[in-house]
Amino acid sequence: MLLSPYPTLGERIRIGLLWLWCGLVILFLIVPILIPVPLSFNSGTFFIFPLEGISTRWYEVVLGTQRWQAAIGNSLIVAFGTTLIATALGTLTAIALSDDKFPCRRIVMPLLLSPLIVPVVITAVGSYLFYARVGLASTYAGIILAHTALASPFVVVTVGASLTGFDRNLMRAAAISGAKPVTSFFRVMLPLILPGVLSGAAFAFVTSFDEVVVVQFLASANQRTMPLEMFIGLREKLSPAITAAATLMMGLSIVLLVVANLLARRSQRRPVAGA
């Protein structure tokens, strides 16, 4: 499509230059995120190529020392808590918004998305100020609440998208057949929008698992998460253990987001259910 059927020399040169430029841009995009991977298997203590030898010693540090283990545990607690609340409440909200009868959607929708718009430092500082007053600073509950605000927009958007392909007549059919609203939700609606819900859950999990600014303000030494431990490590002393942690985090978020996107695509492509 790039070249016309009988390309002139000038056209060939232009297309060649385009490919060259794009090749360099792709290298710029990909190489930096791949660099930590080989370095994390380096047996030496420096970040210099060529590698001194292959070893898993830095993974042993990240997975085997108490400090990093605690951080991984905290990250999982916070991310699972956030995912649970954000997915449950976000799904309910998406269902409510998909109803034509929902009042003042034009006001509610931007409000729901506002946590994505407000610069995260403002959210973090504001949460710190308020949560300290109500005793939620330095608690898991506080961090989970703040992360839920950041993660729930993703659930509302993905579940909302999967609901556009959902035929509301199915719920009416269930009601006519005698099903209570809760029953018809679990037996009719949820199975059909499940890919969207799971996709939203994966987005919520990654949002919380990768988040570091809010945690930096709200967490005490007992609640340090993996990204916060990395941030502190980057500030203080650069250790190859950070490249191992970075590789683990990158692997987790890429896997989850690939799954999330595949699920989201699948739930949106589904034709009107039952038709």
């Binding site: 056209e11 232009r14 385009l18 430029w21 794009c22 841009v25 710029f28 995009l29 990909i30 930096p32 995120i33 660099i35 930590p36 370095l39 420096f46 210099i48 409440l89 976000g90 309910l92 909200t93 409510a96 918004l97 009868k101 929902f102 009042p103 509610v108 931007p110 729901l112 998305l113 946590p115 407000v118 610069p119 995260v120 430092v121 403002i122 959210t123 500082v125 504001g126 308020f130 949560y131 609440l145 839920t148 605000a149 987005f203 990654v206 990768d210 570091v212 600014v213 303000f217 990204p227 941030f231 980057l234 650069l238 970075a246 990158m250 978020s253 890429i254 690939v258 999330a260 996107n261």
Partner: protein
């Protein structure tokens, strides 16, 4: 639910009944409908209520509380109630009367007794540089004064008789204040009630805002120059190849900002890969200090933001039929003319969306400047964090947040106005 009942049908009176009876029927039916409708609305609102309430508590209240700190600071008013009262009759010229001095002495004593003296000193210091030590010194002297009258102690500290001192105290006794918001823009009230720039040695924030805008603009431009041709290429090649290329864009997009920043701290080291490359290419003769530099920061931010600029452009390029360009060629347009007159106007909304998004997101950057930028490359978010973490000056942090938020929301308003919020979908 009962949409089959159209008003026009109801309006038609059945033969056997009078017009007024039909009207009454119509009214009662529409009342029932409205009530049912109201119930449905309420039910759908109730489904959304848990998240809305949670967001209001976990996100809304914190933001409002923080922003209120920018304009509401009762520290001085609370600590100096008698002084405030005595100052209410002062005309603002010269020094206030002796009774005001005595009132201030009494207030300082009671604030020392209540343990709020240090807080007061700090708050006054924000408005009146150097006031901290003077307040604490005066408090100590008042304590050790014994029988000496308070007025004499106050007059013995020259600070309280300087011309600039009392207007600042008088201003501070008002809890609602524009002082911090003005300071965040390097402005202040002068003695005549007008607005003036603060002296250059005290001005810091305009420079930080300009720096933030400069970095955001530079990153936006860089992402556009790098991203536009790649978006064009991906939109033009066959599907299979496009899928592979788009993965190259999405992989970094799906990696967290912190991890990418960590990767760049490794790359930008003095003996890191970027310096190796520059030496090998002969671009640089010696190893450069890329860490803690503006250029290092812009490179890393460009890498992080590139997918945000590229994806909206790509999504609109994908919808443009290649036949349009062919039609332009066949009508005699040169490639550049066809590109400028046919292609560019159509992709322009995508370019605007990508660039605005990147610019807005850059304004709020915190992690990357904190880890890769040097002391003179810190952006506005870093100053906000610093005022909270190091200076413990919530009011200044709040005022800077206020202004950053105003810029961000204004740009999002422009975005929504000209492009529609639907373009924000990136997931």
């Amino acid at each position: 639910m009962m949409s089959a009942l159209q008003p026009s049908e109801l309006d038609r009176p059945p033969l056997a009944r009078s017009r007024s009876a039909a009207d009454a029927d119509f009214k009662s039916v529409s009342a029932v409908l409205r009530r049912a409708d109201f119930g449905d609305r309420l039910r759908s609102l109730a489904l959304a209520a848990p998240l809305l309430v949670l967001l209001a508590l976990s996100f809304g209240i914190p933001i409002v509380l923080l922003l209120s700190r920018a304009v509401y600071d009762p520290t001085i008013a609370n600590a100096l109630p008698q002084t405030a009262q005595a100052l209410s009759g002062w005309n603002g010229q010269g020094l206030p009367d002796d009774a005001t001095f005595v009132a201030l002495a009494a207030d300082l004593r009671s604030s020392q007794a209540k343990g709020t003296a240090y807080e007061l000193a700090k708050s006054l210091n924000a408005r009146l540089p150097g006031a901290r030590s003077q307040v604490l010194k005066t408090v100590r002297q008042l304590e050790g004064a014994g029988d000496k009258p308070p007025l004499e102690v106050m007059k013995s500290v020259p600070f309280w008789s300087q011309p600039g001192t009392w207007p600042s105290i008088a201003n501070g006794t008002h809890s609602i204040t524009s002082f911090y918001l003005m300071s965040a823009l390097d402005l202040r009230w002068n003695n005549d009630g007008g607005i003036e720039r603060v002296p250059p040695e005290q001005a810091i924030f305009l420079q930080v805002f300009m720096r933030t805008f400069f970095v955001a603009a530079a990153v936006t431009l860089a992402t556009l120059i790098l991203g536009f041709p790649l978006a064009y290429l991906i939109a033009s090649v066959p599907k299979g190849l496009a899928a592979i290329l788009i993965v190259a864009v999405l992989l970094p997009f799906w990696t967290s900002i912190l991890v990418r920043t960590a990767a760049w701290t490794v790359l930008l080291q003095k003996f890191g890969l970027v310096n190796d490359l520059l030496l090998w290419l002969g671009v640089a003769e010696v190893r450069l200090d890329l860490m803690y530099s503006r250029i290092g920061l812009i490179i890393a931010m460009t890498h992080i933001q590139l997918p945000f600029t590229l994806l909206p452009i790509y999504s609109i390029m994908r919808t443009i039929q290649p036949s349009q360009m062919k039609a332009a060629y066949s009508l005699g347009a040169k490639p550049f003319t066809a590109f400028r007159r046919v292609y560019l106007p159509q992709v322009f909304p995508g370019v605007m969306a990508g660039c605005l998004l990147t610019f807005i997101l850059c304004l709020g950057y915190y992690i990357t400047p904190a880890l890769i930028g040097g002391a003179s490359d810190q952006l506005i978010s870093n100053f906000i964090a610093n005022y909270v973490n190091v200076e413990l000056n919530w009011e200044m942090a709040a005022a800077l947040s206020f202004i950053l938020l105003v810029f961000t929301l204004a740009l999002f308003g422009i975005f929504a106005r000209i492009l529609g919020l639907d373009r924000l979908k990136l997931v």
